[in-house]
């Protein structure tokens, strides 16, 4: 597989891969670094003429190893998934990779729906996405309880889910 072909395949599954990496490292900046590193490993592999049968799986494997390294370097004491759980998570992503078109459409729908959220809702989600921002820290900052913040986030996500499902229903109708 040459670099261009590998690039195309890599890009086709990039949303799911990024989701996988984010899930593992729970930090957007670290996730982007690992995403880059997976890319570099892929290019090195194509240059070495390495045979890659299942590119998304190969990328997740590399990402998983890099995430482990990230965990070791962080030493922050937060949970680190065991091999079995990681295998299950990877299986979830492997099963989903069959429907790239659907996830592309969902990605676009989500982009639209997030932009339709009220600014306060966007702000709350943004705070949650910031690296290291725990629910407790958010609650303290907002002068609310952890439960209240959790509930607000849950409602916002539910709103987004409904919005996305509506959009997808319209888009995917024959």
């Amino acid at each position: 597989m040459n670099a261009r072909l590998a690039t195309r395949q890599f890009l086709r599954g990039r949303h799911a891969l990024m989701g996988f990496i984010r899930l593992l490292v729970r930090d957007s900046h670290a996730a982007e670094d690992i995403f880059q590193d997976v890319w570099m490993e892929l290019i090195d592999a194509t240059e070495r003429r390495k045979e890659i049968d299942d590119l998304p799986k190969w990328c997740r494997g590399v990402a998983r190893n890099l995430a482990k390294r990230h965990w070791r370097e962080q030493k922050h004491g937060r949970i680190v998934a065991g091999t079995e759980l990681l295998d299950q998570i990877e299986l979830a992503f492997a099963e989903a990779q069959q429907a790239d078109d659907y996830w592309d459409a969902r990605h676009n729908a989500l982009k639209d729906c997030v932009s339709l959220l009220p600014e306060r809702a966007q702000q709350l989600l943004r705070q949650r996405c910031e690296a290291g921002n725990t629910l407790a820290a958010m609650a303290s900052e907002l002068n609310r309880t952890v439960e209240a913040v959790t509930k607000s986030l849950s409602r916002i996500r539910a709103t987004l889910r409904r919005c996305v499902e509506r959009k997808l229903k319209v888009e995917l109708q024959p």
Binding site: G19, R26, Q36, I43, L85, A92, L110, Q122, C129
Partner: protein, 552 residues
């Protein structure tokens, strides 16, 4: 809140209890659970991505001072007429050009890795009647990641590039030449995409690999060309004098530039139909232009300042800019012997050579007008002008005032009834535009190293007038023109001096050896095969140090 959402919250918090872990594993044990888990993870990832992009967009809009650069490498820049910035994610990662900038009107905040050696001010905005646009030949394609603001958008598009220079400050960049090669640049590198089948290495290193059996790709550096013969190879500029060539697969031929003109008309034919000495490119007398006794040899052409009197060069054109026999990229020289009777009056123009491809035209002429588009800027007055379109700088003129100051000739000196040797050059390897009179340089201006010429195209070349277009009714030459030579590289000061010595001795520029002009423009020096890594003197094209594979 559903349990999966709760579990993911716990996961994100890093507080997954043994009980929660068990629940998590139970969810993931079923196909439906895994699908729901993936959907929730996917959504959260996309939400984070979208919000981050929005935040960056807001930050950029408010500060208007920063465009995200990759965190893993410094920004790379390219002179190219389309501003694009690759995303921080992959850009840094090593494969593609990480950022491009428009050399005029750069986006704020994008660091210029290599500041121009000469500050080039924005040229005045105006349109000449002859500034019409023409289609340009595309040369390469690369994947580009749009980055509206924070580098978080990952939409990718395949973008086609016209001739341009890529400047990779770190990491690496890769593109596909339309001739069928994957080309990779290792930063820091400065590389000109001159055509679909060749490139020009100014700094750094480049690796090319053919992707089609019938493709070819060559890399040029000064007088040396690496010509592939079905291969993968790497070329590295070691310093200003040396280049290292390494063959990774197959075979390459190392070629040396013959340093001969592409065209040379000496007007020796007596029938009014001239053929150049190199390619037999025909040229014909038009209007009242007539053949007379030569400034050098037996023939020259006399022009009487009447519109339409010219030597029209037949053919040599191309469909688009960047094609045709007059298309040059890394260098050019226009050389002629003249006897001038130019008036030097306001809005009088005497064209020596012109190829009138609109905004991509080339010209060597006497001019006196508003001195627009001159670099460096000069006050209005009689000038000798080299006009070229340099990529990223648009059409511009090096206009030498004929004022007799600082070594420049005066109008009176050039119109004294005696023959004068005129040479105009541009060299992308040095960025130097220069005008020579009678064997030595009189005026020059330096552009950033690596600035390519955009030339060629559908319009025919003309000697002694601008064109048959009545718009140019003041452009006819008044005097004689002889020994017109056109090169796709810049003559050196030593070569110009030697040519002048030859014509002063009554010979042509090449010592009257016209036969030598029919030699191929590039001659093979040696072939290298897989495993060879050899250092060459890039000017003389001789190996200076070789690391041969043991098996040879």
């Amino acid at each position: 809140m559903n349990s999966l959402e709760h579990l993911l919250d716990c996961w994100e918090e890093g507080e997954l209890s043994a009980e929660a872990l068990g629940q998590f594993e139970a969810v993931l044990a079923t196909t439906a659970g895994r699908a729901a888990f993936f959907r929730e993870s996917f959504d959260r990832s996309v939400i984070a991505e979208v919000l981050k992009a929005q935040a960056c967009a807001v930050a950029e809009a408010s500060s208007r001072s920063s465009i995200a650069t990759p965190r893993k490498s410094s920004a790379s820049v390219s002179r190219h007429t389309v501003a694009v910035l690759l995303s921080g994610i992959i850009a840094a990662a090593v494969l593609f050009v990480v950022g491009l900038f428009v050399s005029q009107g750069q986006k704020p905040g994008v660091p210029l890795a290599r500041p121009p050696q000469v500050a080039v001010a924005d040229l005045p905005e105006y349109n000449d009647a002859d500034d019409f646009d023409l289609p340009i030949e595309m040369v390469a394609e690369f994947a580009e990641f749009t980055s509206t603001a924070g580098g978080n958008s990952r939409d990718v598009i395949q973008r086609r590039l016209s001739p341009t220079t890529l400047n990779v400050t770190s990491g690496a960049a890769q593109f596909a030449s339309l001739g069928g090669a994957d080309v990779r640049l290792e930063g820091p590198a400065l590389f000109g995409l001159s055509s679909g089948i060749s490139g020009v290495l100014f700094e750094g290193s480049v690796q090319a690999r053919l992707t089609k059996p019938d493709a070819n790709y060559s890399v040029l550096i000064s007088n040396l060309k690496v010509f592939d013969l079905g291969t993968e190879f790497r070329v590295r500029a070691v310093d200003n004098d040396h280049v290292e060539v390494e063959v990774l697969d197959g075979e390459v031929e190392i070629q040396s530039r013959s340093r001969l003109p592409l065209f040379f008309w000496d007007f020796e034919e007596s029938n009014g139909r001239f053929a150049d000495a190199v390619l037999q490119q025909p040229a014909t007398l038009q209007g009242s232009a007539r053949r007379v006794g030569g400034i050098v040899g037996s023939g020259a052409v006399e022009f009487d300042n009447s519109p339409g009197s010219m030597v029209r060069i037949e053919g040599g054109t191309g469909e688009k800019v960047g094609t045709g026999r007059f298309a040059c990229s890394s260098g050019i020289s226009i050389e002629a012997m003249i006897v001038s009777r130019w008036s030097g009056q306001w809005e009088d123009y005497d064209e020596i050579f012109r190829k009138n491809d609109g905004a991509y035209r080339m010209l060597l002429a006497f001019q006196h007008d508003y001195s627009r588009k001159t670099m460096p800027p000069i006050p209005s007055g009689p000038c000798l002008t080299l006009g070229l379109h340099l990529e990223g700088h648009r059409f511009g003129r090096l206009a030498m005032p004929l004022d007799g100051r600082d070594g420049r000739p005066s109008l009176e000196e050039l119109t004294d009834g005696r023959p004068h040797h005129i040479v105009a050059t541009y060299d992308a390897f040095s960025g130097l535009k220069a005008l020579y009179i009678d064997g030595w340089v009189r005026y020059q201006h330096r552009y950033p190293v690596g600035t390519l010429i955009l030339s060629g195209g559908p319009e025919g070349a003309v000697i002694g007038d601008a064109s048959e277009n009545p718009h140019f009714d003041k452009s006819a030459f008044n005097g004689q023109i002889d020994e017109v030579a056109f090169y796709d590289f810049a003559l050196t000061p030593d070569e110009v001096a030697e040519h002048y010595r030859h014509v002063m001795a009554g010979a042509n520029y090449f010592g009257d050896d016209v036969e030598q002009l029919r030699a191929p423009p590039w001659k093979g020096v040696t072939r290298l095969v897989k495993g060879d890594r050899v250092v060459f003197d890039r000017h003389r094209v001789v190996p200076v140090g070789a690391v041969r594979s043991p098996r040879r």
